[in-house]
């Protein structure tokens, strides 16, 4: 069966986008990417530290992987645009995750600024994947201005709370059909990733839950399997929840003859 995720005409087998922040040991990253089977990996940009000769993250990411640069640090559309342009200049493609955050406590994306940045960058030919608060109007606006996918948060970033924004994400899944929906932020366990996929999300992006597990390689494999499981379940059309019990074995007894 051909069940592919398509983002900006790129066909992908994996529905697991992996973030690379917070890894304790960078050498685990390569194995983790391998175990995850991810084809898209997020990175960020930062000033080089000239005093210590730190490792280049790119050396841990296989060449065939799509780099998705996060504009983290941007507090408004202009800053996000500036970061995106720098990223493109680096020569690793034009995929960008717009993340505009104007609140240092909850780290919530600012939808209005995100729409502005998306519009500018899409017009410049970027493949724009905006991180957003799930809001139907904002999602429609993002699609209209050229987002290649939309990435609503499942719950607070790094919280591992799962799909707390379920009501609104379900609405996005039902209503936004032109681009994929990628649940980003807050997914903390394979069961939660499976749940997002069962709901009909097209993919999930996970970072904290992988990088901060005791064994990132093993949990990456677990997430990979659970995301496939959730996708298959969505395709298989699951049985409904019932409020009553229903026997799975024949109860009519030969014992009472």
């Amino acid at each position: 069966m051909e069940d592919q995720l398509v983002i900006a005409n790129k066909k992908l087998k994996s529905r697991f986008l992996l973030g690379t922040g917070k890894f304790k040991h960078k050498d685990e990253l390569k194995m983790t990417i391998h175990a995850s089977e991810a084809e898209i990996v997020t990175v960020a940009l930062r000033r080089i530290d000239l005093d210590k000769n730190s490792d280049n993250i790119l050396s841990y990411i296989p060449d065939n992987i799509i780099l998705l640069t996060n504009t983290s640090g941007a507090r408004n559309a202009d800053e996000a645009v500036r970061i995106a342009r720098i990223a493109r200049e680096a020569g690793y493609g034009n995929w960008v995750k717009i993340e505009v955050i104007n609140d240092s406590k909850y780290l919530l994306p600012d939808n209005a600024e995100t729409i502005k940045a998306t519009q500018i960058l899409a017009a410049e030919g970027f493949v724009v994947l905006p991180y957003m608060q799930p809001d139907l109007y904002a999602a429609r606006a993002l699609v209209e201005v050229g987002a290649a996918a939309i990435m609503p948060l499942g719950s607070l970033i790094g919280s591992n709370q799962g799909v707390k924004m379920e009501t609104m994400i379900e609405i996005l899944i039902n209503e936004i059909k032109m681009v994929p929906i990628i649940v980003d932020a807050g997914i903390g366990r394979p069961s939660q990733a499976a749940y997002a996929m069962e709901m009909g999300a097209d993919a999930v992006l996970i970072n904290t839950a992988v990088a901060t597990a005791d064994n990132p390689v093993l949990i990456a494999e677990a997430f990979a399997k659970s995301i496939m499981a959730g996708r298959l379940a969505y395709l298989a059309k699951m049985a409904n929840v019932k409020t009553e019990a229903e026997a799975s074995s024949p109860l009519t007894g030969f014992l009472r003859a």
Binding site: T20, A44, L50
Partner: protein
């Protein structure tokens, strides 16, 4: 000659272009981007772009991110 690199003042030799300057530091150049005075300098222009006194230089590269 004084320039600011990633927020720190540094004295450098005059008449140095970007590529030469980068050569003086030990940096893995894969994925490095150079901004001078908030303008990106494309890689192919590194050799023909000379640093000037007072330049504000940003050297940026990739790190892990989510």
């Amino acid at each position: 000659m004084q320039i600011t690199v990633n927020g720190n003042n540094t004295g450098i030799e005059p008449k140095m272009n970007i590529r030469q300057y980068l050569g003086t530091r030990q940096i893995d150049l894969a994925g490095v981007v150079v901004e001078i005075n908030q303008k990106i300098i494309k890689k192919q222009e590194w050799e023909i772009t000379e640093l000037k006194d007072g330049d504000i230089v940003e050297l940026i590269s990739f790190v892990g991110g989510g």
